[in-house]
């Protein structure tokens, strides 16, 4: 609105193009977003209501795909795994991130080096992470073999080949990859804490432990929220890491919704079922992201800018 006032007032030569140029520049992105994001969401949603199998077809089939989805035992496996994975991954990555941030905030010499070491896995592709951990967790050649070579003959670490425990291997690798990032977020949060509050508490004779537990950690609420949103988002989308580490196996024991969607759509000729599972994933993400984005944007609007 400020634009219209300042640019229109002094000279009258502002032509149509000049006035609409900003909109024209933004237009391609707007059109791209409408088509490739919202159009595609509608497209996939539509397909989930059809009889599509090998190829997308337009024959209406109502809620049949959803009925089949919720009757599919692999889908339930995927949901169960997503639940186990999310709880452990989000919980442990947050705990480790917070712990490391607090420890690093104790005037550590060489903090920069340690921070770099904790954070570098975030720069790697999940495929690389999966490849490395697949090798470490392989019972015949990895950690199990090292410990046995050290003389602990009965030591066993064969989680990755056991259907009941393979999902925990994915948790380990995922935590390895992202906990450093959570640490960086908490560290930035800790650095933003007002020193005066802490000094006041110290004068009152509060112990370090108490200061953290009662004052500083509660102040980290926004960081907890951000890291929860990011990690849950990563968890729901998890695909690459599982492909590289277990490819969903043994059997279907480490399927997650993203794996289910891909296998159904591209290898099992169940396009409608794949589309239905993608819609469920989108709805789950939206349930977390929309309220978060809404509150973030509203806050930004309140504080005002420009």
């Amino acid at each position: 609105m400020a634009v219209a006032v300042t640019s229109a007032a002094p000279s009258r030569q502002i032509d149509w193009l000049g006035e609409h140029l900003p909109k024209i520049v933004l237009a391609p992105t707007f059109v791209i977003t409408l088509f490739f994001v919202y159009g595609f969401i509608l497209w996939t949603t539509f397909l989930s209501f059809t009889k599509s199998r090998f190829m997308p077809v337009l024959t209406w089939d109502g809620l049949r795909a959803y009925e089949r989805l919720w009757a599919n035992s692999n889908w339930w496996t995927a949901l169960e795994n997503l639940f186990i994975f999310s709880v452990l991954y989000i919980g442990l990555a947050t705990a480790i991130g917070l712990l490391l941030a607090i420890l690093l905030d104790q005037k550590i010499r060489g903090e920069g080096v340690l921070r770099t070491i904790y954070l570098y896995p975030m720069a790697l592709s999940f495929i690389v992470t999966g490849t490395a951990w697949k090798w470490l967790l392989n019972p015949g050649i990895g950690i199990e073999k090292i410990v046995r070579d050290w003389g602990f003959e009965s030591f066993t670490l064969d989680w990755i080949v056991q259907p009941d425990t393979a999902i925990y291997c994915i948790v380990i690798a995922a935590i390895w990859q992202s906990s450093g990032f959570v640490m960086a977020m908490f560290l930035a949060g800790l650095r933003g804490v007002d020193g005066e509050i802490i000094k006041a508490a110290q004068i009152d004779g509060a112990s370090t432990f108490k200061i953290y537990w009662r004052i500083i950690i509660p102040l980290m609420r926004p960081v907890f929220l951000s890291s929860f949103v990011i990690l849950s988002h990563l968890a729901i989308k998890s695909y690459d890491l599982i492909v590289a580490l277990t490819d969903g196996g043994p059997g279907t024991s480490t399927w997650l919704p993203a794996i289910f969607m891909y296998k159904m759509t591209f290898t099992r000729n169940e396009v409608a079922l794949g589309a239905a599972s993608a819609v469920m994933m989108l709805m789950t993400v939206a349930a977390i992201m929309v309220p978060y984005l809404y509150s973030e944007l509203r806050q930004a609007g309140k504080s005002g800018h420009g």
Binding site: F30, T33, L47, Y118, A132, R191, K237, A278, H305
Partner: protein
């Protein structure tokens, strides 16, 4: 970020606590470093040494044979032409995709903060939501669209996909950055008769270095590391390196050459690792700009 915060915990405190602190910090450092060390060490060993030796042992006779083999003759599926050409596939994909998405993001951020119009905020919210959709929701329509456009299984196709789903992030970064850019400066330039693009090229861009670096690094890392789009839309000869790596590791014919697997993994990891080492602080800032905005 570099300066430790106001003194909190007793740095004078009991020394055994200090020791414990260091023990925990170092154990975690080992946890994060171990996989990288094992990858590097294994890639420098011979198959024979891997079979007989300890995983953690340093290579007795370091050799780059596995690296050479990974680059030029490792089997990716049925073709044994090495990972090298897929490395260049990724390079050819990542450079245009990063440049185009960054430029569009810069222009969008400029419009959304300095030339706002009625409804601009709604448009921004619509764009922003695109950053967070699970990409599974677009896979089927995108496969079809790329087919119709005649760029399925090609590098240009992947560039399009990465630009399309990258501009929401680049727009977000530049919008947040330009929101803090003095609007008076832009107003003054407008009064002096400077046009839309003059202001962008002469005033905005020269002052955008920090956010340019953050955006380029973010986009580069994300696009280089992508697997889902690569596997879905370019699984053949145009596959990016992540897809090729996964194929090499899962090729089950012949003797398993773990050293070649690890060398391939290192080649996939090196470009982004290098960026991280050279510009780590921007990297962190970029990741957090996507998370804690403002």
């Amino acid at each position: 970020m570099a300066e430790p915060s106001a003194a909190i915990a007793g740095s004078e405190g009991t020394s055994w606590l200090r020791v414990l602190l260091w023990v925990i910090l170092i154990l975690f450092a080992l946890f994060y470093l171990a996989p990288l060390y094992v990858m590097v060490a294994t890639s420098l060993k011979s198959v024979e040494e891997i079979r007989t030796g300890n995983l953690l042992a340093l290579p007795l006779a370091p050799t780059f044979d596995a690296w050479v083999k990974a680059w030029s003759s490792a089997c990716v599926g049925v073709e044994c032409t090495g990972i090298g050409r897929f490395f260049f596939n990724s390079v050819k994909m990542v450079i245009p995709a990063v440049l185009i998405s960054t430029l569009i993001g810069a222009l969008n951020g400029y419009v959304l903060t300095k030339w706002t119009f009625r409804g601009a905020n709604v448009i921004f919210a619509l764009i922003l939501f695109g950053c967070f959709i699970p990409f599974q929701i677009v896979l089927i329509p995108m496969a079809r669209t790329l087919g119709i456009l005649g760029i399925a299984s090609s590098t240009p196709g992947l560039v399009l996909v990465h630009v399309v789903y990258g501009i929401c992030f680049t727009t977000l970064y530049f919008r947040n950055f330009y929101a803090a850019f003095p609007t008076d400066l832009v107003k003054a330039a407008k009064i002096d008769g400077a046009g839309f693009f003059t202001i962008f090229w002469r005033i905005m861009l020269p002052n955008s270095l920090p956010i340019l670096v953050v955006t380029v690094i973010w986009q580069f890392t994300n696009i280089w590391n992508d697997f889902l789009f690569g596997a879905s839309f370019a699984a053949g000869g145009a596959a990016p390196i992540t897809v090729a790596l996964n194929n090499i590791v899962n090729t089950s014919t012949g003797v398993k050459e773990y050293n070649v697997d690890m060398a391939s993994a290192m080649m996939t990891a090196l470009p982004t690792l290098l960026v991280y080492v050279l510009a780590g602080q921007y990297f962190v800032r970029g990741m957090m700009a996507g998370a804690v905005k403002g």
